[in-house]
Symmetry: C2
Subunit: 141 residues, 2 copies
């Protein structure tokens, strides 16, 4: 995107492609999801179904909320709950062909936004960092 | 900041002031820090010393990493470790008087950046969301 104007940039140009995105599957137990989030260090990741369609996102806070008992954290509950029972389904979604301004508007209230095609197949994620880097490049040139 | 140019905006104009920022103290046990992070929903928060000086930040991943055993998560370890033993100390820091561009540069690689005065007393945090909202306002006007 070296010489592109902000208005010429498409989401597909600056998103992280699906093969580089950590994700979990809809039927995984919460214990597996928590381990993926701890090992990757990410606050939240996309949730995909068995045919690689996007169904939602899941983060550390929602998982930990499930096991927060009155006195302490009841870790043993984690293996009995599945990702699809607690994941966030009401999430914004972009197309690769969407423009930069639409991406900027969407990440204002979300640390990242998933990108999928018309049939719902997962293409990648747009992060706040990617948007901020392009805005900096635009201001300095 | 309604009619201000980006170049006229100071960090103090758009930061979240200290009284509205969830934080933990340097001597708190990790169990307390994890409960603050789960209840507030934040991924990470500032760490202050007893006289309200900024000393670092702490997030869910670093706490959970401490208690990740070979077989499962050993929650009982949480009460025996203190925040100052695991917090991140190498953090960027801004002054209220710093300009917008310095803020933009700093949040590219950090979801939020702490603001403190010359003596290190905590003033608040600058978030990516605050920077993105101003950039959107600037593009649309
Ligand atoms: N391994 C790493 N190496 C370098 N920097 C790292 C990093 N992990 C996190 N960061 C930095 O911390 C920011 C917040 O990460 P967080 O995990 O809360 O929030 C992340 C995470 O939830 C998700 N994310 C980013 N990359 C991902 C990936 N490859 N797979 C899955 N999710 C990803 O998108 C959110 C926003 O990402 P963004 O890059 O804007 O912002 C990232 C990035 O600036
Ligand atoms: N209670 C809430 N109400 C509305 N939206 C919420 C929210 N909690 C989180 N969000 C949204 O999610 C983003 C990421 O939050 P996160 O906790 O990972 O990362 C947060 C958190 O670690 C820290 N933070 C934000 N506000 C804070 C506060 N009042 N006290 C302590 N830390 C705060 O700064 C990071 C970036 O914040 P930012 O606003 O740019 O970005 C926030 C915001 O857009």
């Amino acid at each position: 995107t070296e010489n592109k104007q902000l208005t010429d940039i498409k989401i597909g140009d600056i998103m992280i492609p699906s093969e580089k995105v950590a994700h979990v599957q809809i039927n995984n137990p919460l214990e597996h999801a928590l381990l993926v989030l701890i090992k990757s260090g990410y606050a939240a990741v996309p949730v995909l179904d068995n045919s690689y369609r996007l169904v939602g996102t899941i983060g550390k806070t929602v998982i930990l909320n499930q096991i927060l008992g009155l006195e302490h954290i009841e870790f043993e509950k984690l293996s009995g709950i599945r990702v699809h029972e607690v994941m966030k389904e009401d999430i914004p979604c972009l197309l690769r062909e969407d423009n930069f301004l639409k991406g900027l508007n969407t990440v204002i209230n979300h640390p990242f936004v998933c990108v999928a095609d018309e049939d719902g197949y997962f293409d990648g994620i747009l992060t706040r960092r990617a948007i901020l880097k392009e805005l900096k490049r635009d201001i300095y040139t």
